[in-house]
């Protein structure tokens, strides 16, 4: 009796096992390969290039369907910090990280910093009078609170033919820490020793005067509705909000109104800073990429590159995908998408160098 009972039990157990195995095997054979093919690449960082990156990601995914990008526009420092702690695959920053800082982190791999597009920080204002011109020194005095009225002698002498109102100037700066602020204050520190000594430059600083508004959109809104105000935003925000932009005197003594062409021209003068062929891609030196206050008849002086940072890990699937994407973005197709979103493409020679060597 016992024996006859035991046999069916074993058979049932074996049947159960085979059934489970079949289910598991079919699952792993049919569904898993499909899922395994899509690579998710996570990034975080600068808000400034967010619109163009989103555009690139979606266009790229149309061509290469097995890569999926996620990007959190949390700010440059946040992105870089996350990259160092290895919680993301790539970071984006408006300002390159210094070679010393990367070395101090003692990472196992090097970090590649690749310029992707050009952008400008523009000075916007709200006055009935258009075509206001300023130079770096006057701009620094306005943001230091030393020039308090629009009809000040220093401003008037730069603007012959414009009747400036006897109106108080309201300086609007960013209240949140921002790469835009760092680029702007780096420029002010380059053109004014007074500014360099105090308050200096950084993502957030102790502003001598004015009010703080949150984000490029916050500044744009303030400028739009406050007569007599002056502030700084990224070029795209000035264009989209139809704000008046200051023509800024560059180091060649020419007043240049911000435009995509003026950014391209500024970048084409990069050769004055460094020989492109001598730029070390493995250890990108921030100073050799600095085109702030560059000379040239048509160069807009507050123009800079924005960067993607990737850890140069060897034989890593995600990194290979990232590099492929960056080569695509730096090539003609990707760079052509920049203008519509108010960015400027990189100089040809520079992007060729990066395409060839990363």
């Amino acid at each position: 009796m016992n024996i006859t009972l035991k046999i069916p039990n074993t058979i049932i157990a074996m049947l159960k096992l085979t059934l489970t195995l079949t289910i598991v095997l079919t699952y792993s054979l049919t569904i898993n390969p499909l899922m395994g093919q899509t690579v998710a690449i996570n990034g975080a960082g600068a808000t400034f290039p967010y619109p163009i990156y989103i555009k690139w990601f979606s266009e790229y995914q149309k061509e290469v369907s097995n890569v999926k990008f996620n990007y959190q526009p949390m700010g440059s420092s946040g992105g870089v910090r996350q990259l160092f702690s290895q919680t993301i695959d790539f970071a984006a920053s408006d300002v390159p990280v210094s070679v010393e800082e990367i070395k101090s982190k003692k990472l196992e791999w090097n970090i590649l910093q690749i310029p992707t597009v050009l952008g400008s920080v523009v000075i916007v204002y709200n006055l009935n009078e258009k075509n206001v011109k300023l130079d770096g020194n006057t701009l620094s005095n306005i943001f230091k609170g030393k020039i308090k009225k629009w009809d000040d002698q220093l401003i008037a002498s730069l603007n012959p033919g414009i009747k400036l109102p006897n109106k108080e100037i309201l300086v609007v700066h960013r209240s949140d820490g921002s790469g835009t602020t760092e680029i702007f204050t780096n420029y002010l520190s380059m053109v004014s020793i007074d500014w360099k000594s105090s308050p200096g430059s950084g993502k957030a600083l102790s502003w001598p005067t004015g009010i703080g508004a949150k984000g490029n959109d916050g500044i744009s809104a303030m400028i739009k509705q406050t007569p007599g105000s002056i502030g700084y935003v990224e070029y795209a925000f000035a264009v989209n909000n139809n704000l008046s932009m200051v023509a800024l005197k560059n180091s060649s003594g020419k007043f240049v109104t911000p435009s995509i062409n003026a950014m391209v021209k500024a970048a084409s003068e990069l050769k004055n800073v460094s020989q492109i062929s001598q730029i070390d891609i493995q250890n990108l030196d921030a100073n050799k990429m600095n085109i702030l206050n560059i000379s040239g008849d048509e160069s807009y002086p507050i123009t800079s590159f924005t960067y993607i940072l990737i850890p140069n890990k060897k034989q890593n699937e995600k990194i290979e995908h990232l590099k492929k994407f960056i080569r695509w973005a730096l090539d003609n197709k990707g760079q052509k998408m920049t203008n519509a979103l108010s960015y400027a493409p990189l100089p040809e020679e520079l992007r060729k160098k990066f395409i060839d060597s990363i």
């Binding site: 949140d176 308050p199 957030a204 009010i211 703080g212 508004a213 949150k214 406050t226």
Partner: protein, 307 residues
């Protein structure tokens, strides 16, 4: 049958214990983490952090006084403005208004509390700020300009704007708490007052407001705690300038606003730690205000209630 009920009993009770301990542990973990993250700053600046007025991320000098000042000033002023509106609207809803209107009014006041604070901020930036700049400031400086409170030029973005936004935001808190308190006053009080020949106002004064006094203080405390921590709407209208100015027309900054502004892009470790230090201070202030008001509500019940 018996087994399953016993099992259910055990499961239910242990579920309660688990949930409670998760909440308590979470709070403690948050406090410990906050203090741990602010350690560098605490050891460097100590208590000078509270009294120093410089906030300079470039030179790594950090002091919280302008932010503490801005936080306390805006919160207390907005409470002063909101308190009469909150209490009087609660009286209307519970005592005076026509029965049909009461529900509608009560709900619509509560609805203010459901508006996201970013919407308040945008409304403040696009409507309140121009109104303050073009209409309110000229009137204030003309009639009250001799007071240091209303001196200097104004661009609308100011402590005043933040105060007004905050007071609108905390009116529903005060109003709905006061409604509950007024409804809890025994009806016999009101009937007794009326029987003694009290007028409607006297009834409200002696049979509604007086026995509710401690409750109102508690409600004010809870509203104050909300004003202390409010962030987004304040960031958008206060001007974010860390200065201590007597004038309400000048820009200012609050502890919550500097956290929202600089935390994401803090560059150095000391900067980050100082922001965490600020968060701990805000946490302590809010906790004191909150527990004090709970304490008042609980232990200072009017004598008549005790019986």
């Amino acid at each position: 049958m018996k087994l399953t009920t016993r099992l259910e009993e055990r499961l239910g009770i242990s579920l309660i214990y688990i949930c409670v301990s998760v909440v308590v542990v979470l709070i403690f973990v948050m406090i410990v983490l906050l203090f741990k993250m602010s350690f560098i700053s605490m050891s460097k600046f100590g208590l000078n952090f509270i009294t120093s007025t410089t906030w300079n991320p470039v030179e790594e000098q950090f002091g919280a006084l302008p932010f503490i000042y801005g936080t306390i000033l805006t919160s207390i002023l907005s409470l002063t403005i909101a308190l009469p509106f909150g209490i009087l609207s609660a009286i209307f809803v519970t005592e005076l208004g026509p029965k049909r209107l009461r529900n509608i009014l009560g709900t619509s006041i509560d609805l203010i509390a459901a508006i996201p604070s970013i919407v308040f901020g945008m409304w403040g930036l696009f409507y309140l700020v121009p109104f303050i700049r073009d209409t309110l400031t000229p009137i204030l400086t003309k009639f009250l300009g001799f007071l240091p409170l209303f001196q200097g030029s104004s661009f609308g973005i100011s402590i005043l704007a933040a105060t007004l936004i905050l007071s609108i935001m905390i009116i529903p808190t005060i109003s709905s708490l006061c409604r509950e308190i007024f409804l809890s006053v025994p009806v016999t009080y009101k009937e007794a007052a009326l029987a003694l020949g009290a007028t409607p106002w006297e009834k409200i004064k002696f049979a509604v407001l007086k026995p509710s006094l401690t409750g109102i203080v508690g409600a004010a405390g809870l509203a104050l705690a909300r004003a202390l921590g409010e962030t987004m709407a304040v960031v958008m209208v206060i001007g974010n300038s860390p200065q201590i100015s007597l004038s309400l027309l000048a820009p200012g900054a609050t502890m919550a606003s500097i956290l929202a502004n600089e935390y994401a892009e803090a560059t150095t470790d000391l900067h980050l730690a100082s922001l965490c230090y600020m968060a701990s201070l805000l946490f302590i202030i809010t906790m004191i205000v909150n527990s004090a008001s709970h304490f008042i509500i609980k232990y200072f019940k009017p004598k008549a209630f005790a019986r």
